[in-house]
């Protein structure tokens, strides 16, 4: 077994009493002494600090070519509007494969003279290799290892972070801006993966521990582990790569059509021209039969990732599978999302999930389970 990698906050996690688990090759905190439930609720009502340094940070730039050239090259791989992404704005996107499946989902920012891309921990080597092999040689793709990535999320996050870096009120949802702290540059975006207002901060490894200690020294913020990060994102219906998204599921099946701007769709000014376009554009027109859906288990038992779904309580007609599920601390009930094959299922039929050879009924509902609270204006 290869040794687990450590983030710049490893010592801090230990000193805070974190319970560690292996995650995507890193030793990461799953929870702190507060526990998942209380961490989750604390982040919803006040603020939470997350170490997400295991995620990949890519800088895409060129010494010889313009940003417009880089954007055009990226649009051959990403079905999103990269050319129209203004300086210091961030956008959600994904890398489709030839069949329209998803190699990874990501956040991309235009930083004026380079693009900054945050990718999933488990996919960073794959993404890096894929980009390197499929993008013009005049473009540099750099997987940076010298910077950590943290997130501050929740309604008090603006107040807490501004005590360290100064006024943040000019930053709206998906804005990006540099701040300085102890002579170093922080790359701050108003975004995150909890469905709440908050910030993600890329900063030098060497600065990360002292910065986080100074965040945690303030009132109203607690460190939050990966356990609560998972329940927070699930409540807001956000996808987790490897569970809700993979190389066989298309963005349209995953309900991510909103992320493909009109300019890239059929009839748009820069229609298609990206990897996987045939399947993806066709599905936008025709609606796929496989669709990501939200479910409330009717009983108390959580129906987790991997639970098979049937239209009967005998396990005869399999109609789909749960890809993320668990207990919602905010709603105090189990919640699940997963895929339903609408070719095998009529909307008026009952749905059952099979757990431990028993069949539990579930009710279709709508995402998100808990409304998002981004600071859009």
């Amino acid at each position: 077994m290869t040794e687990l990698k450590k983030t710049a906050l490893y010592d801090l996690h230990r000193s805070l009493g974190a319970k560690a688990i292996p995650f995507a090759g890193y030793e990461m905190p799953v929870n702190y002494p507060l526990g998942i439930m209380k961490e989750h609720l604390y982040c919803r009502k006040s603020a939470g600090l997350f170490d997400v340094s295991h995620m990949g940070q890519l800088v895409i730039s060129s010494n010889t070519q313009s940003m417009q050239f880089i954007a055009s090259e990226l649009e051959k791989l990403l079905p999103i509007d990269v050319l129209g992404l203004s300086e210091d704005r961030q956008r959600y996107g994904f890398l489709p494969n030839k069949e329209g499946g998803i190699i990874d989902d990501l956040m991309i920012s235009n930083r004026g003279d380079y693009y900054f891309v945050v990718i999933n921990a488990s996919r960073k080597e794959i993404d890096f290799k894929y980009l390197r092999e499929n993008i013009s040689k005049e473009i540099d793709v750099d997987l940076i290892k010298t910077r950590a990535l943290i997130a501050i999320q929740g309604p008090q996050s603006e107040k807490i972070l501004s005590n360290l870096v100064g006024k943040l009120s000019s930053l709206k949802y998906l804005d990006v801006k540099n701040f300085s702290y102890k002579g170093e540059i922080l790359w701050v975006s108003r975004s995150g993966y909890t469905g709440q207002d908050g910030f993600e901060i890329s900063l030098p490894n060497s600065l990360c521990e002292v910065f986080c200690k100074n965040i945690l020294n303030q009132d109203g913020v607690e460190p939050i582990g990966l356990g609560a990060r998972d329940t927070l994102r699930l409540e807001c219906g956000l996808c987790l790569y490897g569970q809700d998204l993979n190389e066989t599921i298309t963005p349209i099946e995953a309900g991510l059509k909103w992320a493909i701007q009109k300019v890239r769709r059929a009839g748009g000014e820069r229609e298609g021209g990206f990897v996987g376009q045939k399947k993806i554009l066709k599905q936008i027109e025709e609606q796929p039969y496989l669709k990501r859906e939200a479910f409330f288990p009717d009983g108390k038992a959580p129906l987790r990732s991997g639970t098979k779904l049937f239209s009967d309580d005998k396990g005869k007609n399999e109609i789909g599978m749960i890809t993320s599920g668990g207990y919602s601390p905010s709603l105090e009930r189990p919640i699940s999302m997963g895929y339903l094959n609408h070719n095998k299922f009529n909307i008026d039929e009952p749905i059952f999930g099979e757990v431990r050879n028993k069949f539990f009924s579930v009710t279709l509902t709508k995402l998100p389970f808990v409304p998002t609270s981004f600071k859009r204006n």
Binding site: G35, H40, A301, R304, P329, P334, R356
Partner: protein
């Protein structure tokens, strides 16, 4: 009170034994959100999975500590699973059972032995 390697405690209660999970186990599991208990009258054999317990994080099983029959279950913990995190060795017992062989209880760990076991 006696203890198993699977982090259960057993306490004599008349002809029966009361069974629950230890504080250590409750802490390891984290916030418990769902419990499924066996039916009263179920015959169980040592090591059989008889209770499903789910925390926010994951599902796990509790095994029958010894051979016997379930005689009573604590429905209060089914209604409010967080009781197990708050009072695992008191109010939040899981079930009572009659033992096939009463003498087997003595073969389990004492409190001191259990403490060493979890160190």
């Amino acid at each position: 009170m006696k203890f198993t390697e699977e982090h259960e405690w057993l306490e004599s209660d008349g002809d029966m034994v009361k069974v629950g999970i230890t504080e250590y186990a409750a802490e390891q599991l984290g916030d418990i959100v769902f419990i499924e208990l066996p039916d009263v009258g179920t015959s169980v054999t040592k090591g059989q999975e008889i209770v499903v317990i789910e925390s926010v994080k994951a599902a796990s099983d509790i095994l029958a500590p010894l051979d016997g029959e379930i005689t009573e279950i604590n429905n209060a913990i089914v209604d409010d699973p967080s009781m197990v995190n708050n009072d695992p060795t008191g109010e939040a017992w899981f079930f009572k059972m009659s033992l096939k062989n009463q003498g087997e209880l003595d073969g389990l760990m004492s409190e001191d032995e259990y403490k060493k076991h979890i160190e």
